[in-house]
Amino acid sequence: MPRPADTIAALATPAGTAALALLRISGPDTSRLAAEIFGATPPPRTARRGDYRARGGALVDDVLCIFFPESGSYTGEDALEISCHGNPFIAQAILEDLFARGCRPAGPGEFTQRAFLNGRMDLSQAEAVMDLIHARSERALAAANHLLRGGLGRRLNDLTERLLVALARIEAYIDFPDEDLPPEDRAIVRQALETIARETDRLLATSHYGELLRDGIKTVIIGAPNAGKSSLLNCLVGHERAIVSPEPGTTRDFIEERMIVGPHCLRLIDTAGLNPAPGAIEQLGMAKSLERAAEADLILLVLEANRPLPALPETLKSIITPTRTLAVVNKIDLLQGRPIGFAMPDDLPAVNVSALTGTGIDDLVLAITRFADSFQPVGKEDAIAINARHADALERARACLRDALEKLASDGPAELLASDLRGTLGAFGEIVGKVDNERMLDHLFSSFCIGK
């Protein structure tokens, strides 16, 4: 048997929140990958603690890893197991990074299959393996069908159809140069591709996976100067775990941190204080804070327990609605038993905390989780449609479309343009099934009169 040329990676534990998640990597590149990620290939069969750093250098999680050389691994190839904290976003972030480094998502039963092919199992075990492969792929197939009957499948099939029409327009002029075709109109192709690219973006953006993983739930901390916004941020981040730190391109006025709360990823943004009588420079900062708050998924309005309610700018009032605002009454340690000296504006849900002592932070985390839960689209198939593999395929489709649009803009060669479109088609096909060239030809022959 030929040895598989590629390296596969997959989550070995069930998806979802748990104490730990286990990722498995197997294939010829394993040793190189381990060295890349952890600085050196770990010694064989020994658990090592290490920082998992993504390709850009950002710390994702501190993990436990074990390297198995091919002589003693389950698959009979070099293999690596990584145990990370059991949050789906961490596991996904690591998986996504592994794919970016050249791994391929493992197919159903593929680790076991490799084990068999490399002589790690005998024939009787193989029979069992086959049942497993079959059962798993049937389940995967059923799951996929379920997804594809939903919005994602419909939309991708529609995009595929439109792409085929565009491709047929290009191919007609390549394959039938001597025919009596109307003058080639690439503007139509460009429009079609732009639409498809936009739709693909939308699919990627609306995806549960894509948006929440890349951006997290945008949480803006807002309040009067010295209300304790930064302390709260530090307290939250210290309490939980921040997974990604500095973001290039972030406006310096804002401090941004990411943190994991339950099954959610939060993007915490600290803003400049809201001053009722601002100077010119502060006014600028405040405008930006308000802008941020307006875009937020969740607003943490920080109030001081020991002071009267500050005068909030008029523009803020329309932004802090109860559906997305949580009042955080800080500094309750300063009350020393006295009641809070103000009524909650607009009946906002409130949590009492002390960023200084940590009192009430657990309640706050719980309240935030409840909010975040409510953002999750419930029962929508799209919510689970775009997993890492889909997102991976869509990203590649998008890259091919970008190349194609560039070629249209610079009047590049048709054969390369067609190659890009076929790349896109192939990527869509990984989700909705391979497209036979006959379907392109059907479009071609029905839209153009070919044949001398």
């Binding site: 092919l117 193989a126 049942d131 792929s137 390549i174 054969e415 044949g451 001398k452």
Partner: protein, 623 residues
Amino acid sequence: MVYNKIPFDVIVCGAGHAGVEAALAASRMGASTLLLTGNIDTIAQMSCNPAIGGQAKGQMVREIDALGGEMAINADVTGIQFRLLNESKGQAVQAPRAQCDKKAYQFRLKHTLELQKNLQVFQATVTGLIFQSGKVVGCQTNLEIDFTGLTVVITTGTFLRGLMHIGQNKTEGGRMGDFSAKSLSGSLMEAGIQLERLKTGTPPRLLGRSLDFSKMVEQKGDANPTFFAFHDTRDPEDMFHVEHSCERRIGWAPGSKQVSCWMTHTTEQTAQLVRANLHKSAMYSGEIKGVGPRYCPSIEDKFVRFADKPRHLLFLEPEGRATNEYYVNGLSTSLPFDVQLDLVHSVPGLEDAQILRPAYAVEYDFAHPTQLFPSLESKKVENLFFAGQINGTSGYEEAAAQGLVAGVNAVNKVRATPPMLIQRNEGYIGVLIDDLVTKGTSEPYRMFTSRAEHRLLFNHGSAEFRFLDHSTKYSLLSANRLLNIKSKQSAVLRWVDFLERERTQGGTWAELIRRDRVGAAIPAGLSNETKAIQEEVIYRVSYQGYLVREQKQVEKLSQIEKIRIPHDFNYLSISGLRKESALKLADFKPMTLGQASRISGVNPSDISILMVMIGSGRGGDIV
């Protein structure tokens, strides 16, 4: 009587474009070969338009040349007009095309066959095959002379129960003026081979002196013609001489004294005539049962399916230097003759045209190509090979390519050497055969570049390199030519490497070529190389990123292409395999896991299971 006591190694039935390549390939490999044809005067006849090449086909003709076939050089020395198609579209999809002198083309090929060592040509119609315990061992002819052979290649084109239609008029025959092979179909069906009907058509032929060319637009050949054969690596003697005989064959210096084609178009009157007489068309009155090609519609089809298109382009193609006959490309029809006359006269320049031969549609039997192995040997009958239109293809080039492969593999079969299997990622011939034997076809199959997923790797200039392993392994080219190809290849690699490494002003040469594309500066040493080397080097450098991407995909896919499935593999005994897949696989008998994966309805989990089972040592090995 039985003609021969010692069986021929290879008997080829039919001397069309597939048959001649099969016979030449087999005899050139040193196998004793018999070529049977119903009519020696119509060897390698171009039954349809007098042209070779064109999009995808032109690349395929170059591939045929790279595998030692005759079509390319035959077209070059009998060509009367040469054009490179898609000059503006990019190198991978550029394709040479030539109008040929129909008679010169035939005569030269006939002469080549006559002078070929190890080859015997005989005129007789094959009426049946002789089988012995599931294998073919020879054939019977209408002259009651039987021939014995170790292998038989069937290349009967449209002649199996050929039926021609002109309106309601029906004539038996595979081509106007020729016979129909009726009993051979029965013999094939007896052996369990399934036959079905296809249809194709051809336009009328007109007398040149009755045409008014002043009303048409002239289409000239290229001033610098592109040829099919690799003249830079071939022996110049190849063109007109045969190695062993020193006899001079017909032909002229390629590209000399080119002639023109002429363009005109249908009119509103043509459209009205077609519409008014549609019920008389054999196609539309239900006379014809066979399926016709989408890409080669009759004029009836064009006006019906594209009703809003007011006119259709027509090309007048000369049939040769020594004839005044013209082929009307674009006017294929099965309307009755009187309507055909009116149709022709409704076209500008053809008002007073005389028809020499009417247009007709022809229905014929074809054998589903899914009944073949990729070697083109029948799965049902051992030692029996099929090539050309009998497999449901259309076109001289598609036929010739299959004929060549079938001829080579018939010899391999006789010698018990492994067959020459051309992969999808090696060239158009690979795509052609894989599509046919894996997917089959429901209309006459024609090659398009869009059928090839690795089209960018198939630029016509690289055919010799792509097939070098095959041509070396099966000794398809002369030792001298193989040397020439190898030194050409190393020059290309050396230059590509040089351009990628050496810097000039503003970056490496390669970067500048990629930036400036056409008109980029190249080093002086490279411009001293042959045009062929220069073009290949520039192609590889300017498309580098894309070629790497394609190559990666090829490597990824080739893993499973290499895993062979044993011939007697018992799919039905495998517990994990879905019943539907098992039945399909048992029926198709794919040769490799790659082929299995392309059979419709076989899903990736089936492939995983097969991989496990084959790996378990129940047969199965690496190609």
